[in-house]
């Protein structure tokens, strides 16, 4: 029977991009359905109103929202995102939220693929070894360096993961004077400070421009194409093959399946709000963990009473984020010469420093040997309205009038901050999951996702340990107002889990090729497959795994 396309990809972010790129290059016809608009480089401006104040790149929450459950005493506090400050959308546009990533790129390390067998079970956590090893993924990590474009410099350290290429294809981005200060402090403390790999081109390459060092990167779209978003790095090229079509503003509401359980078509609403269908030989879902789970759960069929690919009942379970801690320290300009201040004031160059020394914590003060994580040092986000708004709330009430003005002067003009971001595993647990809300529906009449954000106590323990270590570095550098803390609140921009992969159909949703155990023509290629998400931002792993799955699909077609 003739199909509209060989492959239908739902979602165009880091999980969908590599499939579209590889399959279309291999000569297969691909359609990519993306619920958001197709913005191009010349739509991205350094505009706080567009990026952060108004809903330009995410849906109106009144029309399409989520419901969240957070810990409250013994129970759970339930809030609609349209009536709270939560927003679980991370960027609905061609290229997905990879348009807005900072591109702090870390590989997982070999032990992440076998945490359970290395450290044993953890009470209250659903740990599982991966059905593949680091060696299976390494060639694809390497491919991402070259195809998406990663800049950096390999530095020898005790947790350096094995690499097939000697160094990164692009040199590190220009660094800020603070970077050198971090290096010096770390040297004195016996810590290895590593230039952070970034999915940002440090020179023109791959038919894209270099970074322009304007200082506004994470959270905003890239106007030069230097940032390795799925759109700039992969989809634009996929379209050029003539084999890939992108349907923007096409919201997939359901995946339809026949009595044998095989997918027959995808139901979506186009730009005009008209219901449409498209079919293909293979379907790939990559809508980011929460929406992927929701789509599968909403896609019941004769053979899939509990939702598509959900015979295990595990679709939506083991939702994860990047766990961890945070902190900051301030460098008051009064301590520096006029010339130094001039250099420190610059907004363009990156700090780009990361510490991996605590990837495994082997410290009697902490307890038993345990999986730790990664520390990143970054600039405070420069968006001025966000920064100033934080100054309204004082210790004794609201601040206004001349006191607010003097505070803003000192805050903005007399110094600058370094921010600590500490990443540990968000341990998968039974109180972190996605299901369908029994009442709330979106504008298409489909139930919305309801996510519970339960965290494991270990997150706080490790997060605090890492953040405190980073705080010591800032103190050594001479920073004032150093604070570090851990949090159980999820960073909703880094989301994984909900469709765990594994060898056993009873304990996993996908097999090791990220093909659904229950559905022959379904693959899931966003971060949903991960049994644990590593202790660093995991976008690189999503890209790499999607390239790996693309090879499996090509072999099959």
């Amino acid at each position: 029977m003739s199909k509209d396309f060989d492959v239908c990809v739902i979602g165009s972010g880091a999980g969908g991009g590599p499939i579209a790129y590889e399959l279309s290059k291999a000569g297969h016809s691909v359609v990519v359905l993306e619920k958001g608009k197709w913005f191009k480089e010349d739509d991205f401006y350094k505009d706080e109103m567009a990026c952060c104040i108004h809903e330009v790149f995410t849906p109106n929450l009144k029309e399409e929202q989520h419901v969240v459950e957070t810990e409250k005493g013994e129970g759970w506090r339930v809030q609609k995102t349209s009536e709270s400050s939560w927003n679980l959308w991370n960027g609905n546009l061609v290229g997905g939220s990879s348009n807005f990533m900072s591109g702090f790129f870390h590989r997982l390390k070999p032990i992440d693929f076998k945490l359970k067998s290395t450290f044993g079970a953890i009470e209250g956590a659903n740990m599982a070894d991966w059905p593949i090893s680091y060696d299976d993924l390494e060639p694809y990590y390497d491919k991402v360096e070259k195809v998406v474009g990663i800049s950096g410099k390999v530095v020898k350290h005790k947790f350096q993961e094995p690499r097939s290429s000697k160094d990164y294809p692009y040199p590190p981005l220009t660094s800020h004077p603070l970077s050198k200060m971090i290096d010096t402090a770390c040297d004195e403390m016996g810590i290895t400070s590593i230039p952070m790999p970034r999915a940002i081109l440090s020179k023109p390459a791959l038919d894209r421009s270099s970074c322009s060092y304007n200082g506004y990167c994470g959270g905003l779209g890239c106007a030069t194409g230097a940032k390795g978003s799925s759109r700039a790095a992969l989809l634009d090229k996929a379209v050029k093959t003539g084999k890939c079509e992108i349907y923007p503003q096409s919201h997939v509401s359901r995946i339809l399946s026949d009595e044998k359980g095989k997918i027959t078509a995808v139901e979506y609403y186009n730009k005009e709000g008209k219901k449409k269908h498209v079919d293909a030989k293979i379907y790939v879902v990559a809508c980011q963990s929460i929406e992927t789970a929701r789509l599968l759960l909403n896609s019941t069929g004769k053979k899939h009473k509990k939702g598509l690919a959900n015979s295990s009942g595990l679709v939506g379970q083991n939702l994860m984020f990047a766990g961890g801690g945070a902190g900051s320290g301030r460098f008051n300009y009064a301590k520096f010469s006029e010339k130094q201040v001039e250099a420190l004031r610059q907004n363009g160059p990156f700090i780009n420093r990361t510490i991996h020394d605590y990837y495994v914590i082997d410290d009697p003060d902490f307890g038993d040997k345990a999986k730790g994580g990664v520390i990143d040092f970054v600039h405070l986000h420069p968006n001025p309205l966000a920064r100033a708004s934080g100054r309204i709330s004082g210790r004794d009430g609201l601040v206004w009038g001349k006191p607010l003005k003097r505070d803003l002067e000192s805050y903005f003009r007399d110094g600058r901050y370094i921010k600590i971001e500490a990443f540990c595993d968000w341990l998968p647990n039974q109180d972190s999951f996605v299901k369908l809300d029994p009442k709330v529906k979106d504008k298409y009449g489909m139930p919305v996702a309801r996510a519970r954000f339960g965290f494991h106590g270990r997150n706080l323990q490790v997060g605090y340990y890492l953040a405190a270590k980073a705080g010591e570095v800032l103190k050594k550098m001479g920073a004032s107002n150093v604070i570090s803390f851990a949090s159980g609140s999820p960073p909703v921009n880094l989301v994984a889990g909900t469709c765990r992969f594994g060898d056993d159909p009873k304990t996993s949703v996908l097999n090791k090729d990220c093909q659904a155990h229950d559905v022959d023509n379904l693959y899931v290629t966003d971060g949903s497959f991960m049994p644990n998400a590593g202790s660093a931002p995991f976008t690189w792993t999503i890209y790499a795994n999607s390239f790996r799955v693309a090879d499996k699909i090509i072999k099959r077609l």
Binding site: V56, P382, P384, L404
Partner: protein, 181 residues
């Protein structure tokens, strides 16, 4: 913006002298200010006084008036996507303040001395709704102060220059403002 729409934007607006030229760059919305949030000209004068108190103008540091905060707020509430409940919220808070001034001083807020204005606002802050309203009002002032000049506040980057803030690039241009994307 077409001239007719601009006239509508300013028609009946008692504070038209505080409406900046930048208002011409504001979006193509046809509005009648007095109907938007049910604020009369007098009430807009009152709002203007509140904004100037919360962020006073100084010789070397711009205030609400220098970044056209009143016109900013007016236009923000007039945007078609702004919800009516939010417009009501901004009006109700103002009325709460005025009621408080009447009760405490038997005067309009606008007739109060600076010290009386401060104490009335501090009393309002003790009320949960009042505090939320003050926070929102302050946020609007900061929006006018620190967002891109193309939106009508932060004239000639006065806010950015004051705080030695280095904006990014490229900056938004006509045709690519947030409501045009």
């Amino acid at each position: 913006m077409k001239r007719r729409e601009f006239l509508l934007l300013t028609a009946g607006f008692a504070l038209s002298n505080t409406l900046p030229l930048q208002a011409k760059k504001l979006p193509n919305v046809v509005i009648e200010p007095n109907k938007i949030i049910g604020l009369s000209s007098d009430q807009w004068q009152l709002m203007d006084a509140v904004l100037n108190h919360l962020f006073p103008s100084e010789a070397n540091a711009p205030g609400a008036k220098d970044v056209y905060a009143t016109a900013w707020l007016h236009n923000a509430l007039a945007m078609p996507k702004t919800e009516q409940s939010h417009r009501d919220f901004m009006r109700d808070g103002l009325m709460l303040l005025e009621k408080l001034a009447n009760k405490t001083h038997q005067k309009s807020f606008i007739q109060l001395s600076e010290a009386q204005r401060e104490s009335t606002l501090r009393t309002l802050e003790q009320d949960r709704e009042g505090r939320a309203w003050l926070r929102e009002t302050l946020r609007y002032i900061l929006e006018a102060l620190l967002t891109d000049p193309i939106y009508g506040g932060n004239s000639e980057s006065i806010g950015w220059k004051w705080l030695k803030h280095q904006p990014g690039f490229p900056l938004p241009v006509v045709g690519k403002r947030y409501y045009e994307l």
